[in-house]
């Protein structure tokens, strides 16, 4: 557990340190995003999302590292700048949960824009907010 926290912290530090060179003005979702999600506003966990655009599809991973999770079926609806993606994760009990994340891009004009919305799976939902680094 301590090791995974260290890996997470180092990953986050590397991402933050590399952020100025990674700032992008191209596709609005492309980039490294750092933020929080959790079961409630009082119980939030850090999350890193890396998103990319290949000209046809949005791809990416959640929490890059040894336990990273690939996102699936990612879309951007420019009418309202709605971002939606799915991910399959295994919880502590070994059960597979199908996450759906949906949010709205804020501060579209700026490189440090945000995506704010909700996540949900079979057993719950909560707030989700990430900011482009």
């Amino acid at each position: 557990m301590r090791t995974s926290r260290l890996v997470f912290a180092l990953s986050a530090a590397c991402l933050i340190a590399a952020a100025p060179a990674a700032a992008q003005e191209g596709h609005p979702v492309k980039g490294s995003w750092l933020g929080t999600w959790g079961p409630s506003p009082d119980h939030l966990n850090d999350v890193i999302v890396i998103l990319d655009w290949d000209g046809e599809n949005i791809t990416g991973v959640i929490n890059p590292g040894i336990d990273n999770v690939e996102i699936r079926n990612a879309t951007l609806d420019p009418d309202g700048w709605i971002v939606r993606f799915e991910a399959e994760m295994v919880n502590a009990a070994g059960a597979t949960l199908d996450y759906v994340v949906e949010g709205t891009i804020g501060n579209l004009a700026f490189h440090d824009r945000t995506i704010t919305g909700t996540w949900s799976h079979q057993n719950g939902s909560g707030p989700f907010e990430i900011q482009r680094q």
């Binding site: 060179a21 992008q24 003005e25 191209g26 596709h27 000209g55 420019p78 700048w81 004009a109 700026f110």
Partner: protein
């Protein structure tokens, strides 16, 4: 020089206006000022701040029993000089009438469209942006001894550069849309006609346009005017041919006087291993060759941190440009660019325009100074 208490307060106001402007730095004019809010000011000049990128005139305007100090923003020193004006064309103490448009944020700032001396009615500090008259007769294309057209100044110290582009922003050839000198569309519903944009890119282009281009990184952060945008700048562009080293230097007459290199020595468009080989660049990597009388330049490896045209058309790091330069006569540079960016557009597309030769002059000194309006 002594400014006195009043002079100091004016300088402080000027300083505050400049320092408080990270979001209002060198800017798209309509991003900061509202052309639906015409304003007339009559008063006395207190300070002329003659600096790039925009000159500011501060003036006291009577407001009932007191005077308010207003900032009048006008064109750049180099454009004013080209129109025959100097830093002392208007001086502190002069009574002037300013016609302009008001700042969108309600502050005491206007963009000055005209300035007239109250006493004489003489117009001052206006900018004439029109191209000089065309030569009466077409002059032949200057050529090197081997017959290849010259794109830059002639040998012997006679300077010159290319300016007065016939287009102000990228628009696909064959499409006719109205826009201002900064690429702001007269009718935003023309956005979809400008280029074959993917849906997200069209939405982003419309969003940038609807904010009057105020988010342009060139104006906000002095980011380079790269790609085709180099050839849209009112301050012009100079091409210096180094035949010994087989390269063409592109000197940009705006921003921070950056330059770019077209390599004609047959190299691959890659960076230096261990250096910038995996680093996308503002100007990309350009290699070219002559095809008859046309210089054809391919450029890739762009980053996404800038706008590659006035007006805010988006691009991605998949952007590949094919630029063609030809000089059909002494005074005309024909520029054609094919934009191939499968990340932002549905197909490759082409835009072209011409520039005029400005003989006997060095490239204007126009600087973008960070956080200065």
């Amino acid at each position: 020089m002594s400014y006195g208490v009043h002079g100091v307060s004016v300088l402080l106001l000027a300083g505050l206006l400049v320092a408080a402007a990270p979001g209002e730095a060198h800017h798209s004019i309509l991003g900061k000022f509202d052309d639906t809010q015409p304003t007339t000011l009559e008063g006395v000049v207190t300070l002329v701040d003659w600096r790039s990128p925009h000159v500011h005139i501060f003036m006291n305007v009577r407001n009932g029993p007191r005077f308010d100090n207003w900032a009048v923003e006008i064109e750049s020193p180099d454009m004013l000089r080209k129109s025959g004006w100097a830093r002392d064309s208007v001086r502190p103490g002069d009574a002037i009438v300013v016609e302009g448009i008001a700042a969108r944020n309600g502050s005491r700032q206007v963009w000055g469209d005209s300035i007239v001396m109250s006493a004489t009615g003489r117009a001052v500090l206006g900018v004439d942006e029109s191209a000089p008259p065309a030569p009466l007769a077409s002059r032949p294309t200057p050529r090197w001894p081997d017959g290849q057209p010259r794109l830059g100044p002639l040998p012997g110290g006679v300077d010159g550069y290319w300016a007065y582009p016939t287009a102000v922003a990228l628009v696909e050839d064959g499409v006719d849309v109205a826009m201002n000198a900064g690429g702001l569309l007269d009718d935003i519903d023309d956005a979809a006609r400008v280029a074959p944009l993917q849906p997200w890119a069209l939405a982003l282009y419309r969003a940038r346009q609807s904010r009057h281009l105020r988010d342009d990184p060139t104006y906000l952060n002095c980011k380079p005017t790269s790609g085709p945008r180099q050839f849209h700048q009112p301050q012009g562009v100079q091409l210096i041919e180094d035949r010994v080293r087989e390269r063409v230097f592109v000197l940009v007459g705006s921003g921070n006087r950056n330059f770019h290199i077209f390599f004609l020595d047959g190299r691959e468009p890659v960076g230096q291993v261990g250096g910038d080989d995996d680093n996308p660049l503002y100007y990309g990597r350009s290699v070219g060759q002559w095809e008859d009388d046309t210089l054809v330049v391919e450029t890739t490896s762009f980053n996404e941190d800038f706008w590659f045209t006035n007006g805010g058309l988006p691009h991605t790091d998949r952007l590949r440009l094919t630029q063609r330069f030809s000089r059909p006569d002494f005074d005309t540079l024909r520029y054609e660019v094919t934009v191939d960016d499968p990340g932002a557009y549905t197909r490759p597309w082409t835009s072209s325009w011409t520039l005029r030769w400005v003989a006997g002059e060095e490239l204007p000194k126009h600087f973008c100074q960070e956080n200065r309006p």
